[in-house]
């Protein structure tokens, strides 16, 4: 075995001539060679490629503590899935495969270049690379991209997918996707003048359309092979790997796609021969197997469980093999202005001042596994982020004096009683509610804990305005992660009062400020990127002035770095390891 590995290592070294990566493969390789970031230390894979190599072959083993939401590119709506999907599908655009800040930039994948806007951002044109083939050897056509986007619009078949395309595309009225609206002419939304050109026609100008072109929903789907809701059983690959086995809910594996042409794909290295993914693995067992090296990666990429946390952080050798990225995710508490006395701004401000954010942080797992204290809505890595703290307190533990002053100003000097809602299935939110109960009690605000089932949390309880009002849910724990790192993606769904539905189900549950809505409209239609980013920061500040949201923490995760893999680095776009670059040492 050793001998064979040496031969392989030598062979790859020859093949890799001219490439800068140092050879990390081979059992006999000297770890000192080259001065790369091969030394295992905390956060070693955050801004540099850890253990770079071009050695091909081997199997990468991944596991998911739950089920995959779906493997169908038209419906999947998890960052980890979008990251992994690039192994078997090529969207028009994707995020750059490189460590650090650069991974937030878009780069062409199936397309030849970024989108070309015309009509002031109402029309977007993409040229796709000619000659790209599916796993069965048929050529990918522009019509396949159009079909893929159109089928994703069918929310009866794909209820959980992103809904940006139906929001922005100029689709015929009551269009329900190609299964139900058979034969309907959709040229008002997407045209394909030839086999390599896709043109998107929008209802209104949208400067950030390239981000939509990077969604997995633009991964081409051949109409002849589409089986609707069952397509997830066999997704036809356009990427470097194709499905070998697929037992839904249990496991699946990928093998090499013989029809993938490396020359057409400068993004992916496609080093390993196989990917094996187990589903529904017990989360604690998963951590133990990661630490023992039996598994390579926890594919969900949200970090270790509390049980393993103590073990990993307490042991310097184990901690050296971890990375600690910040996610584009805010854990926060909505302060509902519809529930008295929170209709008075000073009562809301009392909560902002009194809350002990270190308790919030501990509830989510502390500074490493939980996150960093937040005083703004937008996380630092989102372009347009402005650093400010309108309700400062020493060490984030809350300012009792200022909180009491605010209570006096709102006519409740002795405090008041209200309720806090949280999702019953989430122990971290329960811990937040308990922590806020403690810290707000310091100024006389008495909280009663109200757990609700997470499945109906937004539709029937904390996100249902009449219910909130009738049951006096003054506070509700909440969380939001951007679909991509951009002010629009981060803010629009949680601060726009027009997304609040009286029937429930909206993610904004508390921010009702017409001025914020106006600022949002101005920012979205602004075609100047720099001015737009400036505007996101201003909106953030305005919402904080209104005190409708108590920001808790910007989430971080503690990832266990795979010991046996090469080319390991954290992609800031996904806030986890980039799954397309990995190789096996």
């Amino acid at each position: 075995m050793i001998r064979r590995n040496r031969v392989l290592a030598a062979a790859t070294a020859v093949l890799a001539l001219g490439l800068t990566g140092a050879c990390g493969g081979g059992d006999d390789s000297d770890s000192d060679s080259g001065g790369t970031s091969a030394k295992a230390e905390f956060n070693a894979a955050m801004t540099k490629v850890f253990n770079p190599s071009d050695k091909k072959g081997g199997t990468i083993k991944l596991a998911n503590s739950g089920d995959w939401d779906t493997l169908d590119p038209g419906e999947t709506y998890y960052g980890y899935s979008w990251n992994f999907l690039r192994l078997y599908g090529r969207a028009l655009l994707t995020f750059k495969v490189e460590p650090g800040k650069g991974s937030n930039d878009l780069t062409p994948d199936l397309a030849e270049g970024l989108g070309t806007p015309s009509e002031g951002g109402k029309t977007w044109t993409y040229k796709i690379k000619p000659g790209i083939k599916y796993e069965d050897g048929t050529v990918v056509k522009a019509a396949d991209v159009k079909y893929a986007v159109l089928r994703s619009v069918d929310k009866a078949t794909f209820p959980n997918g992103p809904a940006y395309f139906e929001q922005f595309l100029n689709l015929p009225k009551d269009y329900k996707g190609p299964y139900k609206s058979k034969g309907v002419n959709t040229d008002s939304a997407i045209t394909t003048p030839d086999d390599t050109t896709v043109v998107f026609h929008l209802k209104q100008a949208f400067g950030g359309f390239d981000y939509l072109a990077a969604l997995s929903q633009t991964v081409p789907v051949p109409e002849a092979k589409d089986t609707g809701a069952n397509y997830k059983q066999h997704v036809v690959s356009s990427g470097p790997y194709m499905f070998d086995t697929n037992n839904l809910g249990k496991d699946f594996s990928l093998k090499r796609n013989p029809n993938w042409d490396a020359a057409s794909d400068p993004i992916r290295k496609a080093l390993p021969d196989r990917y094996e993914v187990s589903l529904n693995v017990n989360a604690d067992d998963l951590d133990n197997r990661l630490l023992s090296g039996d598994l390579d990666i926890d594919v969900v990429g949200t970090g270790v469980q509390p049980a393993a946390l103590g073990r990993v952080v307490g042991d310097p050798a184990l901690k050296a093999n971890t990375d600690n990225p910040t996610l584009s995710r805010l854990w926060y508490t909505s302060i509902n202005g519809t529930v008295a006395p929170f209709d008075k701004i000073d009562c809301r401000k009392a909560v902002e001042y009194a809350a002990d954010k270190t308790g919030y942080q501990t509830a989510y797992g502390g500074p490493l596994a939980g996150g960093i204290l937040a005083s703004t809505l937008m996380p630092p890595q989102v372009p347009g982020y402005q650093k400010f703290d309108l309700y400062p307190s020493p060490d984030g533990k809350g300012d009792v004096e200022k909180a009491k002053a605010a209570l006096t100003a709102c006519g409740q000097p002795n405090g008041f009683a209200t309720n806090i809602a949280y999702r019953a299935e989430r122990p971290k939110e329960k811990a937040v509610a308990e922590s806020l109960q403690q810290s707000l009690a310091r100024v006389g605000i008495k909280l009663t804990l109200k757990p609700y089932p997470q499945g109906d949390y937004f539709s029937q309880y904390a996100g249902n305005p009449p219910y909130v009002k009738a049951n006096k849910i003054g506070l509700a724990t909440n969380g939001w992660g951007a679909d991509w790192n951009d002010g629009f993606g981060f803010l629009s769904q949680i601060v726009d009062s027009r997304v609040i539905r009286e029937t429930g189900g909206s993610s904004n549950t508390s921010v009702r400020d017409p001025e914020v809505d106006k600022m949002l409209d101005a920012a979205i239609s602004n075609t100047d990127a720099a001015a737009r980013e400036q505007a996101w920061g201003a909106i953030d500040k305005k919402v904080m002035e209104d005190a409708y949201i108590l920001p808790g923490i910007h989430a971080k995760s503690l990832l266990i770095r795979p010991k046996k893999l090469t080319n390991v680095f954290v992609s800031e776009a996904y806030a986890m390891y980039d799954y397309t670059a990995l190789g096996v040492a």
Partner: protein
């Protein structure tokens, strides 16, 4: 098992009491009541007495929880995050056990585990006792009625028992606890949750008592003293309450004592599954549920787990001893 009137002499212990016993036996042989005989027998069962003492101790702990927690711990819902390592969420020094926190502190929040175990005893015992009382009242009444009247009354009640015993109770209670609103029947918050748990547990465990009582009633019905009462003109209610019920006290007491630990475990299971009292109120099952996330931090699971273990064991030992004392024929 059945102890009828006039059979007292059968129950005199064969072995004389130690030291002062001999004289006492000869002197007071006719003055002993049933309860006194049973008590004498129970007193000699060291294991049962130990169980009984632990049970009394636990009841006292539950009643005086605020005093005990005040003297040896800190309020059960107070956070002590200065005792927690923020990076690992574990208590500093592993457990945080100190003079101030006898059982250490919880990871993440730093709440005093001693106080929470002490306060948890209130919830566990209150629910277990009242649920048992409820099932005894329902079970004994329906059992006697079924056994005494027989016929179609017996058929209906017996079938009802079968239905209740076959009921998927755990699933049902999770569903029921989920749909009951925050305020109902004039109760709200923890009071409502406790009432709900008492109802669920008590209402569904009555057939265990009911079957025993029905069986006993069936055999008692045919006894001579019942015939005698009937021939003297006594009617149903009088026979049930004056003739039969005194003879049913022993089995009811025994099975009630043995039902309590089962109910404690059931309450813990429900709290573990999240349908018990609402946080932050402490309950043993809820503490175990929290501790499961931190299974590497041993003391968090150990103390509430031991509390459940000791309580259930004590009630079982005491209940077994009580059965031996009241029913000497069943022994050996």
């Amino acid at each position: 098992m059945v102890v009828g009137p006039g059979t007292v002499s059968d129950q005199v212990p064969l072995a004389p009491d130690p030291a002062p016993g001999g004289a006492v036996v000869t002197k007071q042989i006719e003055g002993r009541s049933l309860g006194r005989i049973a008590w004498n027998r129970l007193k000699r069962d060291k294991v049962a007495m130990a169980g009984g003492i632990v049970v009394i101790f636990l009841i006292l702990v539950a009643i005086f929880a605020p005093l005990i927690a005040g003297a040896f711990g800190s309020p059960p819902n107070d956070f002590h995050q200065d005792k927690i390592d923020p990076n690992t969420l574990a208590p500093i020094g592993g457990t945080g056990i100190s003079g101030e926190h006898l059982f250490g502190v919880e990871p993440q929040n730093g709440r005093d585990i001693f106080s929470r175990v002490v306060y948890g005893a209130r919830i566990s015992l209150l629910i277990a006792f009242l649920a048992t009382l409820l099932s005894v009242v329902i079970g004994a009444t329906l059992g006697v009625v079924a056994g005494f009247f027989g016929g179609w009354v017996d058929t209906i009640i017996s079938r009802a028992m079968d239905v209740f015993l076959a009921f998927p109770l755990l699933v049902f209670s999770i569903a029921l606890a989920g749909v009951v609103p925050d305020t109902a029947f004039g109760l709200s918050g923890d009071a409502l949750r406790i009432a709900l748990l008492i109802f669920i547990i008590g209402f569904f465990s009555w057939p265990y008592i009911g079957r025993i009582v029905r069986g006993q009633t069936l055999s008692l019905r045919e006894r001579e003293f019942v015939d005698a009462a009937r021939s003297l003109g006594a009617r149903g209610p009088r026979i049930i309450f004056k003739e039969m019920l005194p003879n049913l006290i022993a089995p009811i007491l025994i099975y009630a004592t043995l039902l309590i630990p089962t109910n404690i475990l059931f309450e813990a299971a429900l709290s573990f599954l999240g349908v018990g009292v609402r946080p932050p109120t402490a309950s043993w099952g809820g503490m175990l549920s929290d501790a499961a996330r931190f299974y590497t931090i041993w003391h968090f699971m150990f103390f509430p787990g031991m509390a459940i273990f000791i309580t259930v064991l004590a009630f079982n030992l005491f209940g077994d001893g009580l059965r031996d004392a009241l029913d000497p024929k069943g022994k050996r």
